[in-house]
Symmetry: C2
């Protein structure tokens, strides 16, 4: 086991044949970090130095065998070969190791004062069609009807009139429109809304379903070998934005979805989970333009000032 | 900066909506490590848990930006696309980060009692031709003549009669035969020798030269961006083996070579560096069958019992 202290620079010991220290197991991280000491860009130097320290500490902690190292080289190569313009297997790898969520979270700290962010995901590949408040985004009329509504405010609760709310979600079978061309109409279950003078938005939709991330590549093999499932719990994607405020990219998660506590990409934050209760009220159903009974989801968004 | 303590499992705090803890910046490594808790193979579980801890600690230490994360995804993808049966860019990446040497060293600890190992390298791709002791492996007769000799022994100094000594090296221009088909004859500067009854071997060759690792890919770009050169100091590769003993894969490095203290792949160990002095003695030159003056390199190898 490597001592955590080896993550820092130790005393500059070691006998080399010259001014530069030669490689040794004990001081491997320091020796390699030293090779990056001449990096012109200080940020790149910092990143490479830290990467080397943690990578060497990992190899030492587990005493990686040559066979395991060879497997890792092959795994990374296959992950690269699986990646192209349509499929990004290294992003999937980053996702299932929680690195994507960590980077997202570090770069969008809210201090608990605004809506938390989560990963963008790969399905915002088409522009959401502009729609009127109240529109039904379930263009194919399939699924369990759901009224989605909320309010976009600033840090002091001030309504953000004219805020844009970009939404996309799966259908009841767990597929986005772009995954089912010819089955779902283009733009199905997507919409770009503009909040009213009180910052409010509302639209008609259906309840989304959990779905698996692509698991026919090396990342799927990793999940299978480690006893993990590839599923993400049911969610609606949101991007809320208003001039003078910081936009937020997030999801709202359906509280009774399977996999809520085991999202394959670790996207769930407690503040983003909402109950989606059923309303059995024919008069109200007629009023909002949905079949009775229907479900309701309320998601208010709070933005920080830019 | 992440505290080194975060590399270990902290107390199981955090409020989830269920039994499984949800993601948070503070406990990201623990939450993701927990997702691997059901891995059937205990070794894979250990490796993934450690990898997650060090990877998350790295991201937190440097507070990796989204732009840097995106660059890393693209870098890894290009590294994968550069790799095929002939070129392995991920091995090069492992090499220049000192990971290959670390894995090699961890898996071939000698305790200082036998010849140290170093990386195999990519140029042992053809079988070395069987040659008689004393043979000249410089088939093209070019370069500065050099007499190479040594003795293979066991841990108590016992001579290993019949030990095999597999050797390959560059020519005076820094190229292996396989890199210059049509210029160098096949098998140039390679030989598989059998030690005599006293464990001794000797052959005629030329002094090798330093050479760059392939630097026209992403790894070369990394070296350039960090102010590192791609060169390896001049060396001869050796694999020595004898029945009942552990074979050793190593190099001997030429003491006055450029880059001796800055090998791009960190292969140099002090115990593997040898002076290659010039001998100006026409009688001795005639005796060994080399032009006068010539240089001499002595490298004794000590193997551990299997
Ligand atoms: Cu670490
Ligand atoms: Fe999604
Ligand atoms: Fe070499």
């Amino acid at each position: 086991m490597a001592d955590p202290d080896t993550h820092g620079a130790g005393p500059n010991g070691g006998a080399g044949t010259s001014d530069r220290e030669l490689f040794s197991e004990e001081r491997s991280a320091e020796v390699v970090a030293q090779s990056f000491a001449g990096t012109p860009d200080p940020r790149l130097r910092q990143v490479m130095t830290s990467l080397v320290r943690h990578l060497h500490a990992f190899v030492k902690d587990v005493e990686l065998t040559e066979e395991e190292w060879g497997f890792a080289i092959d795994f990374l190569t296959r992950t690269g070969h699986m990646s192209d313009d349509l499929r990004q297997e290294f992003i999937l790898l980053s996702d299932v190791l929680g690195v994507s969520m960590l980077v997202e979270t570090i770069n969008h700290r809210t201090g608990g004062t605004s809506t938390e962010s989560t990963v963008l995901g790969p399905f915002h590949m088409v522009e959401s069609p502009v729609r009127e408040l109240g529109a039904d985004i379930a263009l194919d009329g399939k699924g369990t009807p759901c009224l989605v509504s909320g309010r976009v405010t600033g840090p002091d609760g001030e309504p953000l009139a004219g805020a844009t709310v970009d939404v996309w979600q799966t259908n009841e079978d767990g597929f986005y429109d772009v995954q089912q061309p010819g089955i779902q109409p283009p733009g199905n279950l997507r919409g770009l809304f503009t909040a009213d003078d009180d910052g409010r938005f509302w639209f008609r939709s259906v309840v989304p379903r959990f779905y698996p991330i692509p698991d026919d590549g090396p990342v799927g093999q990793l999940l299978a070998a480690t006893g993990r499932h590839p599923n993400r719990p049911a969610h609606l994607h949101f991007i809320a934005a208003a001039p003078g405020y910081r936009p937020v990219t997030t999801h709202v998660f359906v509280a009774d979805s399977p996999y809520l506590d085991s999202d394959a990409v670790f996207g769930v934050k407690e503040s983003l989970v909402r109950d989606v209760p059923e309303v059995d009220d024919p008069a109200r159903a007629a009023e909002v333009g949905l079949a009775n009974p229907f479900r309701t989801l309320t998601f208010d968004l709070s933005l920080l000032r830019a």
